[in-house]
């Protein structure tokens, strides 16, 4: 197989190298690849939204499902100019308010159940872990104890520490601050790792394409 027979691979190869040329400095080739990427993304999303939302809604309306006209009307209300002083101009807030209310209503149970209830429970239970023979598993037990200290101290730092002169709360809050920083640092490191893997994937693609093509 020759990559010159495969126009898609060749285009991807050229564009990948064009984007990598941006490492050196901004240049016309890099800017072309950047603009092309933005344009193609916009086109791709427009097509996806058309086939996922507009076309099915249109078909439903033609099929007699007139309820679909309500979201259409709500969408049109968003186009009322924000500086308009017309009598009914505040109607534009209705769809936005509806979206906020529905999103909040759906997210509150999810947040409460997932983040408050279950996350804390799964962090500390079981407090003492046993193996099949009934012996204590020291690593798992230590992990649970550490989780309790982390969760409690981080909450002290975020909630109770402000404007409080209690020495215990302040000290625990400082420990909590350490754990919060560890969490932020690890999230940053994981993101960096993910981008590195992506970079590595593109390098491998270039090498493979070069191996096949030349």
């Amino acid at each position: 197989m020759n990559i010159f027979n495969d126009l898609g691979t060749l285009t991807a190869l050229v564009l990948t190298i064009a984007v990598f040329s941006g490492f050196f400095k901004s240049n016309p080739v890099y800017r072309f690849a950047e603009s092309l990427f933005i344009g193609v993304s916009a086109g791709y999303f427009a097509v996806i939204w058309y086939f996922s939302i507009i076309k099915p809604a249109y078909k439903s309306a033609l099929g007699g499902d007139l309820l679909i006209l309500i979201p259409l009307l709500a969408g049109l209300l968003l186009f009322i100019p924000s500086n308009s002083e017309a009598k009914y101009s505040k109607l534009r807030f209705l769809p936005a308010a509806f979206i906020v209310i529905v999103t909040t209503a759906i997210n509150i149970p999810v947040y409460f159940s997932a983040f408050i209830q279950e996350m804390i429970r799964s962090s500390i239970i079981p407090l003492v872990s046993f193996d099949e023979n009934g012996n204590i598993l020291p690593d798992m037990t230590l992990n649970a104890l550490l989780s309790i200290i982390c969760v409690t101290s981080a909450m002290m730092f975020l909630v109770a520490r402000h404007k409080n002169n209690n020495r215990f709360i302040n000290t625990t809050g400082e420990i909590g601050r350490f754990f919060v920083l560890v969490a932020i640092g690890s999230a940053f490191a994981y993101t960096l790792l993910s981008r590195l893997i992506l970079f590595m994937g593109k390098i491998e693609f270039i090498i493979n394409a070069a191996k096949i093509g030349f």
């Binding site: 490492f23 050196f24 999810v110 994937g201």
Partner: protein
């Protein structure tokens, strides 16, 4: 000595960003051609040297115990930005499911994820050891398309799957053309639900939202997530919302090594560890230089 380090730091300060990235790039190329290929000749099957964690073992067990001829739902919530990490895992899973003759229904909740399922299927079939002669759309697998609405879409999938599965991504009626999903009435008819994810929905992992909203708590849920999503998924790994988690490149490498060794993930794993070594060395070196010059001032 201090003058020497000062000179080096002054020199490094003048080096532009590309001056650091290009050497790393060439080191990687050198490593790829010189070390990995040479190692492959000496030892054709390098070992991964990574053991599965408890949550990974749970995920493996669920996959192992999936009954023959059953059906699973795969939520494909990743796009090209995490393709390198998650596509190999998904194609490995597709290979395992195909061997057991398990039907697969794909769905995505992000626009970027529409193509990801098809490319993973393609990659899985291209793998020389795909254990099935025919893998036909509509019979062995189907794609229900982009389900719009974030958490609202999750609610629909969890509790009103009959409506979600009515039409596939090509807008054809699944009842008429697809024996695979025509037998599925609700989410409970699936043996397991898998999520491949590189993003959250309003800060909550998709599979967790799905599990919270799910009325049938017996449905088994396994998540595969990219490295940048690990901090969002890890807190739920011991919870009732997640029966198994394979998260990050290390876990994915372990999974592929366990289920589809023919995909040769060890090579990528070794390259990544080498690059990380170079970067850590670079960071330590530059910080040492900074510290020395700071003390001088």
């Amino acid at each position: 000595m201090r003058d020497f380090t000062k000179n080096i730091s002054a020199l490094l300060a003048k080096v532009p960003q590309w001056g650091l990235i290009i050497p790393i790039f060439f080191l990687m190329l050198f490593h790829y051609f010189a070390v990995i290929d040479e190692k492959k000749e000496k030892d054709p099957e390098p070992e991964l040297n990574a053991t599965p964690t408890e949550s990974e073992m749970k995920a493996f067990k669920i996959i192992d115990e999936l009954p023959q001829d059953s059906k699973v739902l795969i939520l494909v919530n990743y796009g090209p930005e995490s393709k390198y990490e998650l596509e190999a895992a998904m194609s490995a899973l597709i290979g395992v499911l195909a061997e057991k003759n398990i039907g697969i229904a794909f769905a995505t909740m992000i626009p970027n994820g529409v193509e990801s399922a098809f490319t993973a299927v393609e990659r899985s079939i291209e793998n020389g050891r795909f254990g099935k002669e025919r893998f036909v759309y509509g019979h062995e697998y189907t794609h229900l398309g982009f389900i719009v609405g974030g958490n609202i879409a999750t609610y629909l999938i969890a509790n009103n799957f009959g409506e979600v599965r009515e039409r596939d991504i090509f807008d054809s009626s699944t009842d008429i053309h697809q024996p695979l999903v025509s037998e599925i009435g609700s989410i409970s008819d699936f043996s397991a639900v898998f999520e491949f994810s590189s993003q959250t929905f309003d800060g909550v992992p998709g599979i967790v939202s799905f599990a919270v909203m799910l009325k049938d708590k017996n449905v088994r849920k396994v998540a595969f997530c990219s490295s940048d999503m690990l901090s969002a998924y890890i807190p739920f790994r011991g919870s009732v919302y997640l029966d198994g988690l394979v998260g990050g490149f290390r876990s994915i490498a372990v999974f592929i090594n366990e289920f589809q060794p023919s995909l040769n993930i060890e090579k990528q794993y070794h390259i990544l560890s080498t690059i990380l070594f170079y970067i850590i060395a670079l960071v330590i070196f530059s910080n040492l230089i900074k510290m020395t010059t700071k003390n001088k001032k």
